[in-house]
Protein backbone atom coordinates (compact mmCIF):
# COMPACT_ATOMS: atom_id res chain seq x y z
CA UNK A 1 0.00 0.00 0.00
CA UNK A 2 1.44 3.40 -0.94
CA UNK A 3 2.70 5.48 1.97
CA UNK A 4 3.67 9.01 2.80
CA UNK A 5 7.37 9.05 3.63
CA UNK A 6 9.16 11.66 5.71
CA UNK A 7 12.85 12.37 6.20
CA UNK A 8 14.71 12.63 8.44
CA UNK A 9 13.02 10.71 11.23
CA UNK A 10 14.83 12.83 13.80
CA UNK A 11 16.42 16.26 13.35
CA UNK A 12 18.46 18.01 16.03
CA UNK A 13 19.17 21.69 15.36
CA UNK A 14 20.60 24.64 17.22
CA UNK A 15 18.19 27.45 18.00
CA UNK A 16 18.26 30.10 15.28
CA UNK A 17 19.26 27.69 12.54
CA UNK A 18 17.20 26.90 9.48
CA UNK A 19 15.70 23.46 9.10
CA UNK A 20 14.00 21.74 6.17
CA UNK A 21 11.69 18.80 6.72
CA UNK A 22 10.99 16.64 3.70
CA UNK A 23 8.00 14.61 2.66
CA UNK A 24 7.12 12.47 -0.31
CA UNK A 25 3.33 12.29 -0.54
CA UNK A 26 1.43 9.44 -2.17
CA UNK A 27 1.92 9.79 -5.92
CA UNK A 28 -1.61 10.46 -7.18
CA UNK A 29 -2.55 12.74 -4.30
CA UNK A 30 -3.19 16.42 -4.94
CA UNK A 31 -3.66 17.89 -1.49
CA UNK A 32 -0.82 18.25 0.98
CA UNK A 33 -0.64 19.19 4.61
CA UNK A 34 1.68 19.74 7.53
CA UNK A 35 0.66 19.18 11.13
CA UNK A 36 2.66 19.21 14.33
CA UNK A 37 2.32 17.53 17.69
CA UNK A 38 4.13 18.98 20.67
CA UNK A 39 4.95 16.25 23.17
CA UNK A 40 1.86 15.32 25.16
CA UNK A 41 -0.42 17.66 23.24
CA UNK A 42 -2.92 17.31 20.44
CA UNK A 43 -2.12 17.26 16.75
CA UNK A 44 -2.35 20.81 15.32
CA UNK A 45 -2.84 21.92 11.75
CA UNK A 46 -0.13 24.09 10.24
CA UNK A 47 -0.78 24.50 6.54
CA UNK A 48 -2.53 23.02 3.52
CA UNK A 49 -1.29 23.18 -0.06
CA UNK A 50 -3.03 22.61 -3.37
CA UNK A 51 -2.30 23.53 -6.95
CA UNK A 52 1.13 24.87 -6.01
CA UNK A 53 -0.10 27.35 -3.49
CA UNK A 54 -1.06 27.56 0.15
CA UNK A 55 -4.79 26.98 0.64
CA UNK A 56 -4.94 27.68 4.33
CA UNK A 57 -2.58 28.28 7.22
CA UNK A 58 -2.97 28.42 10.96
CA UNK A 59 -1.80 31.07 13.40
CA UNK A 60 1.20 28.87 14.14
CA UNK A 61 2.38 29.15 10.53
CA UNK A 62 3.99 32.57 10.79
CA UNK A 63 6.64 34.21 8.61
CA UNK A 64 9.29 31.81 9.87
CA UNK A 65 7.56 28.94 8.11
CA UNK A 66 7.32 28.20 4.40
CA UNK A 67 6.32 25.26 2.23
CA UNK A 68 7.37 24.25 -1.21
CA UNK A 69 6.80 21.53 -3.74
CA UNK A 70 10.05 21.91 -5.65
CA UNK A 71 9.96 19.01 -8.08
CA UNK A 72 6.52 17.43 -8.31
CA UNK A 73 7.26 14.71 -5.79
CA UNK A 74 8.72 16.29 -2.66
CA UNK A 75 6.82 18.56 -0.31
CA UNK A 76 8.98 20.48 2.14
CA UNK A 77 8.47 22.51 5.28
CA UNK A 78 11.13 25.09 6.08
CA UNK A 79 11.57 26.85 9.38
CA UNK A 80 13.85 29.82 8.81
CA UNK A 81 15.09 30.57 12.32
CA UNK A 82 14.13 27.87 14.76
CA UNK A 83 12.98 28.55 18.31
CA UNK A 84 12.92 26.23 21.30
CA UNK A 85 9.14 26.05 21.08
CA UNK A 86 9.38 24.60 17.57
CA UNK A 87 10.44 21.30 19.12
CA UNK A 88 7.71 18.83 18.15
CA UNK A 89 6.78 15.95 15.88
CA UNK A 90 5.98 17.24 12.42
CA UNK A 91 3.63 15.18 10.31
CA UNK A 92 3.11 15.44 6.59
CA UNK A 93 -0.18 14.24 5.09
CA UNK A 94 -1.73 13.97 1.66
CA UNK A 95 -5.15 13.18 0.29
CA UNK A 96 -6.57 12.07 -3.03
CA UNK A 97 -8.83 13.98 -5.41
CA UNK A 98 -12.26 14.39 -3.87
CA UNK A 99 -10.57 15.90 -0.82
CA UNK A 100 -13.19 16.24 1.86
CA UNK A 101 -14.49 12.72 1.33
CA UNK A 102 -10.99 11.31 1.30
CA UNK A 103 -8.99 10.53 4.41
CA UNK A 104 -5.66 12.21 4.85
CA UNK A 105 -2.77 9.76 4.91
CA UNK A 106 0.02 10.59 7.30
CA UNK A 107 3.73 9.90 7.33
CA UNK A 108 5.52 8.65 10.42
CA UNK A 109 6.72 12.12 11.26
CA UNK A 110 9.97 13.96 11.86
CA UNK A 111 10.92 14.58 15.45
CA UNK A 112 12.45 18.06 15.58
CA UNK A 113 14.55 18.86 18.63
CA UNK A 114 15.77 22.43 19.04
CA UNK A 115 18.70 22.93 21.41
Amino acid sequence: EPEVTQTPSHQVTQMGQEVILRCVPISNHLYFYWYRQILGQKVEFLVSFYNNEISEKSEIFDDQFSVERPDGSNFTLKIRSTKLEDSAMYFCASSAPGDRNQPQHFGDGTRLSIL
Partner: protein, 116 residues
Protein backbone atom coordinates in the same frame (compact mmCIF):
# COMPACT_ATOMS: atom_id res chain seq x y z
CA UNK B 1 -16.01 26.58 14.51
CA UNK B 2 -15.54 22.85 14.11
CA UNK B 3 -14.33 20.92 17.15
CA UNK B 4 -14.23 17.45 18.65
CA UNK B 5 -14.02 16.39 22.27
CA UNK B 6 -12.69 13.17 23.69
CA UNK B 7 -13.75 13.15 27.32
CA UNK B 8 -11.53 10.25 28.41
CA UNK B 9 -7.76 10.54 28.53
CA UNK B 10 -7.45 6.79 29.11
CA UNK B 11 -9.62 3.73 28.63
CA UNK B 12 -8.66 0.38 30.15
CA UNK B 13 -10.27 -2.83 28.91
CA UNK B 14 -9.57 -6.52 29.41
CA UNK B 15 -8.73 -8.52 26.30
CA UNK B 16 -11.82 -10.09 24.76
CA UNK B 17 -14.18 -7.49 26.20
CA UNK B 18 -15.95 -4.89 24.10
CA UNK B 19 -14.43 -1.42 23.98
CA UNK B 20 -15.81 2.04 23.41
CA UNK B 21 -13.82 5.25 22.93
CA UNK B 22 -16.02 8.31 23.15
CA UNK B 23 -16.11 11.34 20.89
CA UNK B 24 -18.50 14.25 20.55
CA UNK B 25 -18.36 16.85 17.85
CA UNK B 26 -19.48 20.37 17.10
CA UNK B 27 -19.78 21.43 13.46
CA UNK B 28 -21.57 23.91 11.30
CA UNK B 29 -23.02 22.11 8.33
CA UNK B 30 -22.55 18.45 7.52
CA UNK B 31 -20.02 16.60 9.64
CA UNK B 32 -17.09 14.78 8.07
CA UNK B 33 -15.84 12.59 10.91
CA UNK B 34 -12.79 10.36 11.19
CA UNK B 35 -10.97 8.11 13.61
CA UNK B 36 -7.21 7.72 13.52
CA UNK B 37 -4.89 5.52 15.58
CA UNK B 38 -1.32 6.31 16.55
CA UNK B 39 1.11 3.60 17.61
CA UNK B 40 4.34 4.57 19.43
CA UNK B 41 6.79 6.46 17.20
CA UNK B 42 4.46 6.21 14.24
CA UNK B 43 2.22 8.55 12.32
CA UNK B 44 -1.54 8.63 12.36
CA UNK B 45 -3.26 5.71 10.65
CA UNK B 46 -6.72 6.13 9.22
CA UNK B 47 -9.29 3.77 10.75
CA UNK B 48 -12.68 4.85 9.42
CA UNK B 49 -14.80 7.78 8.33
CA UNK B 50 -18.37 9.00 8.32
CA UNK B 51 -19.46 11.23 5.47
CA UNK B 52 -23.10 10.32 4.79
CA UNK B 53 -25.25 7.21 4.78
CA UNK B 54 -25.42 4.45 7.38
CA UNK B 55 -24.87 5.60 10.92
CA UNK B 56 -22.74 2.55 11.67
CA UNK B 57 -19.48 2.63 9.75
CA UNK B 58 -16.96 -0.18 9.69
CA UNK B 59 -13.24 0.32 9.45
CA UNK B 60 -9.87 -1.32 9.76
CA UNK B 61 -8.85 -3.95 12.33
CA UNK B 62 -12.47 -4.76 13.26
CA UNK B 63 -13.28 -1.28 14.52
CA UNK B 64 -16.59 0.44 13.90
CA UNK B 65 -18.11 3.76 14.88
CA UNK B 66 -21.64 4.91 15.38
CA UNK B 67 -22.72 8.33 14.20
CA UNK B 68 -25.47 9.79 16.36
CA UNK B 69 -26.73 13.12 15.11
CA UNK B 70 -29.05 13.87 18.04
CA UNK B 71 -26.24 13.32 20.55
CA UNK B 72 -23.55 14.76 18.25
CA UNK B 73 -21.43 11.73 19.00
CA UNK B 74 -19.18 9.44 16.99
CA UNK B 75 -18.02 6.76 19.41
CA UNK B 76 -15.46 4.19 18.33
CA UNK B 77 -16.26 0.57 19.18
CA UNK B 78 -14.93 -2.93 18.87
CA UNK B 79 -16.79 -6.06 20.01
CA UNK B 80 -13.72 -7.91 21.29
CA UNK B 81 -10.53 -6.08 22.23
CA UNK B 82 -7.03 -7.33 21.47
CA UNK B 83 -3.83 -6.46 23.32
CA UNK B 84 -2.51 -5.17 19.99
CA UNK B 85 -5.27 -2.53 19.98
CA UNK B 86 -3.40 -0.66 22.70
CA UNK B 87 -2.56 2.74 21.20
CA UNK B 88 -3.57 6.39 21.11
CA UNK B 89 -6.85 7.06 19.33
CA UNK B 90 -7.87 10.39 17.82
CA UNK B 91 -11.30 11.48 16.77
CA UNK B 92 -11.26 14.15 14.09
CA UNK B 93 -13.53 16.37 12.05
CA UNK B 94 -12.86 17.75 8.62
CA UNK B 95 -13.40 21.43 8.14
CA UNK B 96 -16.46 21.29 5.90
CA UNK B 97 -16.47 24.95 5.04
CA UNK B 98 -13.68 24.93 2.52
CA UNK B 99 -14.13 23.16 -0.79
CA UNK B 100 -10.58 21.88 -1.07
CA UNK B 101 -7.48 21.21 1.01
CA UNK B 102 -9.63 21.30 4.10
CA UNK B 103 -7.80 20.75 7.36
CA UNK B 104 -8.52 18.10 9.95
CA UNK B 105 -9.21 19.15 13.51
CA UNK B 106 -8.19 16.53 16.02
CA UNK B 107 -9.43 15.73 19.48
CA UNK B 108 -7.01 15.49 22.37
CA UNK B 109 -6.69 11.74 22.03
CA UNK B 110 -7.61 8.75 24.19
CA UNK B 111 -5.04 6.23 25.25
CA UNK B 112 -6.50 2.75 24.98
CA UNK B 113 -4.87 0.08 27.12
CA UNK B 114 -5.87 -3.55 26.71
CA UNK B 115 -4.73 -5.89 29.48
CA UNK B 116 -4.22 -9.60 28.76
Amino acid sequence: AQSVAQPEDQVNVAEGNPLTVKCTYSVSGNPYLFWYVQYPNRGLQFLLKYITGDNLVKGSYGFEAEFNKSQTSFHLKKPSALVSDSALYFCAVRDGIRSSASKIIFGSGTRLSIRP
